[in-house]
């Protein structure tokens, strides 16, 4: 019996050590991330990146995303709903982080769609039809044809714009910025330059609400 108690005590101690270690590690990481983000504001806010909402909004969300990422698709309407709930208070900037194999080609097309004022339509169509062109975590740009055609864009022009060197350069820059900001997974959000302490919609909402409260 005495041995069993000792055993249970050791089990409890080990679990406690694990949880405590995890807590402190995460806390330290979050502090480091916040510090890193504060030091690298230039890499976070780029004037030529696609932006939604009031450009002078007090709360600025920067999102690093991949159109092939399922969680990005899930979060997109949630963030949009937050913006609708606080009109003119939130600005959303979309930064490219094409981490999935093959995603760069899709991002090029998405960036090109801005020339025809169809970024939002294209992004929403790509998210809605994600299962058709993302197979086994790999993006297949050649399968996005029907989705892109449904947006009513000039396809020849789109193709031409997507191949522009400036578009490729922008993706390279966004990926470099993602690296600077320690973005390793998508979506990643920064609210007025602050990273999420831990990934999750609740954490994002809290950060946005805190910033909204600060500006009122």
């Amino acid at each position: 019996m005495k041995q069993k108690n000792l055993f249970m005590a050791v089990v409890a101690l080990l679990i406690l050590a694990f949880a405590g270690g995890a807590f402190f590690y995460k806390k330290q990481q979050a502090e480091q991330a916040a510090q890193n983000a504060a030091n690298n504001m230039a890499a976070l806010v780029r004037a030529d990146a696609q932006s939604f909402g009031n450009p002078n909004a007090p709360v600025h969300i920067v999102e690093f995303f991949d159109p092939a990422c399922g969680t990005c698709r899930e979060f997109y309407p949630l963030v949009k709903a937050m913006m609708t709930a606080h009109p003119d208070k939130i600005r959303l900037t979309m930064r490219y982080a094409p981490f999935h194999p093959g995603s760069e080609a899709v991002v090029k097309v998405l960036e090109a769609s801005r020339k025809q004022d169809k970024f939002e339509t294209t992004l929403e169509a790509l998210f809605a039809g994600q299962d058709k062109w993302v197979i086994n975590h790999t993006s297949h740009v050649e399968m996005t044809g029907p989705i892109l055609e449904s947006t009513g864009m000039d396809m020849a022009r789109l193709q031409n714009d997507a191949n522009a060197p400036a578009v490729a350069a922008m993706i390279v820059r966004d990926l470099a910025d993602a690296k600077t900001m320690n973005v390793t997974m998508t979506p990643e959000y920064f609210v007025n330059g602050k990273p999420l302490p831990q990934f999750g919609f609740e954490e994002l909402k809290k950060l946005v609400d805190d910033e909204l409260a600060n500006t009122q």
């Binding site: 041995q3 055993f7 080990l14 050590a17 694990f18 270690g21 995890a22 590690y25 995460k26 390793t184």
Partner: protein, 139 residues
């Protein structure tokens, strides 16, 4: 010397549990992705935590019979992995061509302690303790 066998098995359980929790900490908390060989070592380390604990309460000296094969095979994989990180076995022989190459050293403490070395040390200790427990129980 009937009392030492449970103590030896308990110690082996403790080593396995610390190793298993350490592996989970590195993958789940620190976000280090395990390579293929790490997965093989996990496959032989994780069950030891359960099997040895069940062998302790109520105490069953035969538990070494079930635990030793796991420890010995794990020891082999860990040894292979250490030789690989040291460059003694060329990478081409390793069964990991996709994802994280097993040759990549993700953590290096004090200049020589790598994750595979910790694993090798844990499997070696467990094997030694279980062998000692077998001997002490048969006396």
């Amino acid at each position: 010397m009937k009392t030492t066998a449970p103590t030896l098995i308990f110690t082996a359980w403790l080593v396995a549990t610390v190793a298993a929790l350490g592996a989970l900490f590195m993958s789940e908390v620190m976000g280090l992705a395990p390579c293929v060989l790490c997965w093989w070592q996990r496959i032989f380390m994780f069950p030891l935590v359960m099997i040895l604990a069940l062998g302790l309460f109520p105490f069953d000296a035969k538990v070494t019979r079930y635990a030793l094969p796991l420890a010995v095979i794990g020891l082999g994989v860990a040894g292979f992995h250490v030789l690989l990180t040291m460059g003694i076995i060329p990478e081409a022989l390793a069964p990991c061509r996709q994802g994280i190459p097993c040759k990549t050293i993700q953590i290096e403490w004090f200049g020589f302690v790598t994750i595979p070395l910790l694993s090798l040390f844990a499997f070696l200790t467990i094997t030694g303790l279980l062998l000692a427990a077998t001997r002490s129980a048969s006396k």
